[in-house]
Amino acid sequence: VSAVDEPLAGGALGEPGPDGGGQTSAARLAAYVQGGGVIVPLLTVLLAFLAGGLVILVTGHNPISTYKAIFNGTGLNWLLPWTSSADRPAAALNLQQTLILTVPLILTGLAVAFAFRCGLFNIGGQGQYLMGSYAAVWAGSSFAGMAHFPHVIVAALAAAFVGALWAGIAGLLKATVGANEVISTIMLNYTAIYVGDYLFGLGGPLQNDAQRSVPVSNDIVPGAKLHVFWGDPELQGLHIGIFVALLALVVFWVVLNRSTTGYEVRAVGLNPEAARSSGMSVGRNYLLVMAVCGFFAGLAGAMDVLGWQFRIATNDIDISQIGFYGIAVALLGRNTAVGTFFAALLFGGLLSGTSQRNLDPTIFEPELASNLTTIIQGLVVLFVSADVLVISILRSGRRLMPWRRSRT
């Protein structure tokens, strides 16, 4: 018995009700947050930054110099031709940081976007990312004798498959008993945190061998580290994970827009009932899509572990937020490949630009700034949640949205 045969089975939030027009909330989102349109996302970001600037102003700081310092912290000034050669080395370091953060943001963004296109809301990117990173650190710190290339492949694939399994739990429950994926993925996020606390905590099975009083994993062996192609490996230069992320974007686009599977996924996302009537298995698509989402998110965990973290401490698990940023990335990127890339770059820049390491503390306190990033992220998500708001600022009515139809 599949989910949609029994709409109200198993605690299904947002399933069809008497007045709902027979769509889940995520299906509604899939219908309206997809494809096309550059103006609405840009305006969303502009509004969020304006509101963030207001927060800076009200609390007695200068928003312009703050934003300028954050921009310099992102290293994006490296791309500007008029940046002086004296500033270039520092800008390059910052830009490497931004791009390092962009890698997992692209991948966790895809993990959310792919689910949206199938009418599912994957809040579980964080948990899938974490489970993937555990697998990567295990595989990366084992098999010490292995050659570099196969070792990296094994570790990355192990992470991706563990992520896919973790997300697959939610997909399976959705497909078989109709369990609401929002609730199950939220709960899987926290379960994943405690799995990590158990694995790497004191006395845990994957705790490091050297210092039994420190709750941290073993370091991955040098042979499993990703190649750094820009900058100094000792100073966290940019690793080749960026190409993996870019490749994932291409794969996402091709699968979604140029394959039968992608056609089915989008059809289920737009209208599960119609998809079922035309002979597609809605449940199978739910399971498949969640597994693919987990694959992306798990891969994100692998890129971070193999690219620059090299180990996992239980403290880092508790404060990690990358998977949650994926939600904002996907929403702002309107669940498209290109949109996800730019949204990931924006949030990667915000995260590195407000970091302790990159932001000039004489202008704005980094600790304040990182909270500012969270506020901006929240505002972006809030504004996207009510597209109506941004669109009504442009102009009211449906005339503005013909591109939505053309994209499907």
């Binding site: 939030l13 008497p18 304040l368 708001l389």
Partner: protein, 400 residues
């Protein structure tokens, strides 16, 4: 209780339901006798009891009571397994962890914020608005509670400021999800992020490196004059925070309101069938606004309890996912205040165990911390009982 099983086999007037509940109790007893103060040091009696529970569970299962049957089997397995583990660990360690009165008191401490958050969730979701934002509303109450108590010099002011702040944040959620008909889940995620950012920002701005002051006014404990001298009960509830009693009171008030008053019926009808509710003259929009704002106020009280009732301090992201456990409480408790009380206590108890367990097993403690989340996944999967939400939940309402 064992006699219940025995009589069940002698005479058929005892229904499988009775046997099922009896078997669950036997499973619990199997573990209980291996713990202080009884502390049976042999695993044999516990295993015998566990097997009895499993057998009775299988019998019940054969009579068509699936839920109870599996519950009894699980109780038997967990009870016997736990007892075996207990008999193998040192008696001293066990005494450290299992002091029933202290565990009970700790359970109430951990359950209080969950209960406030869950009651908030129930009110909002019963009116048809999903509230993932409970976590953020709690965190807001957390910060503004201590801020108000610090600036105003009194915990009463702290609570008021917390309630106002939680209500305002809930108003944002209401405007977006009801008036702008935004997606309620995305909106809730946004509320959580906003609350995390804003409270973190204000905390760094106001308190910076020193942290919140130590001498901030705190919600007092209630000392019950006669009861505090009764041996077990005195230690358990003799000295409990005022907010805990308030939460329990709120459970009763809300249960009566929702299921025994016309206003409660209206609230529920708006969540089940808004069109019909509107047809008989109710304002769906107004009802939902009030419900969502109330949910923010309740959740903020839970947060304020954390900062000025329990800890006396604030730190960034202090709630650390408690709002999501509150959400779990709502679902497991089936959108009922009484059910919420039961599950808040269960999850509070598992937190209490988790807090004490690291003295001899870190890994075991983690298991108990994860319990609420794992149990919720099992519940939404429908393995133990179906939990059915209000029918119109998550659907924006448009007047025709």
């Amino acid at each position: 209780v064992t006699s219940a099983v025995a009589t069940a086999e002698r005479e058929r007037t005892v229904t499988p339901r009775h046997v099922g509940w009896g078997a669950i109790a036997v499973g619990v007893i199997a573990w209980y006798i291996a713990l202080p103060p009884i502390l049976v040091r042999s695993f044999v009696p516990s295993v015998v009891l566990g097997v009895i529970a499993i057998g009775a569970g299988a019998w019940v299962l054969g009579r068509g009571e699936n839920r109870l049957g599996w519950g009894a089997i699980a109780a038997g397995v967990i009870g016997a397994g736990g007892a075996v583990a207990s008999t193998r660990s040192g008696a001293g360690h066990l005494a450290d962890v299992v002091t029933w009165s202290a565990l009970f008191a700790a359970m109430l401490r951990f359950a209080t914020p969950l209960l406030f958050g869950a009651l908030g969730g129930i009110v909002s979701e019963r009116s048809g608005v999903v509230n993932i934002g409970i976590e953020g509303m709690m965190l807001t109450g957390c910060y503004f509670g201590i801020y108000g108590a610090d600036i105003g010099g009194s915990w009463v002011i702290g609570l008021v400021v917390a309630m106002v702040a939680g209500g305002v944040l809930a108003l944002v959620h209401a405007v977006f999800s009801i008036t702008l008909r935004a997606d309620q889940i995305v909106g809730g995620v946004a509320i959580n992020l906003l609350a995390l950012g804003i409270t973190g920002y204000l905390y760094v701005e106001h308190y910076g490196e020193q942290g919140t002051p130590d001498d901030v006014s705190r919600v007092p404990d209630v000392t019950l004059p006669l009861i505090k001298d009764i041996p077990f009960v005195g230690d358990a509830i003799g000295k409990t925070n005022l907010m805990t009693w308030l939460a329990i009171l709120l459970v009763i008030v809300l249960a009566v309101f929702l299921f025994r008053t016309p206003q409660g019926l209206r609230l529920r009808s708006v969540g089940e069938h808004p069109r019909a509710a509107e047809t008989v003259g109710l304002s769906v929009i107004r009802t939902r606004y009030l419900a969502v704002i109330a949910s923010g106020v309740f959740a903020a009280l839970g947060g304020a309890y954390l900062s000025i009732g329990f800890l006396g301090s604030f730190n960034q992201n202090l709630t650390a996912g408690r709002g999501y456990i509150a959400l779990a409480v709502v679902i497991c408790g089936r959108w009922r205040p009484g059910g919420a009380l039961a599950f808040a206590c269960l999850f509070g108890f598992s937190s209490a165990i988790a807090q004490r367990l690291p003295t001899f097993s870190d890994s075991g403690a983690v298991l108990f911390q994860a319990l609420p989340y794992v149990l919720t996944i099992i519940v939404v999967a429908g393995v133990i009982g179906r939990s059915r939400p209000p029918a119109a939940i998550g659907q924006p309402y448009t007047r025709e």
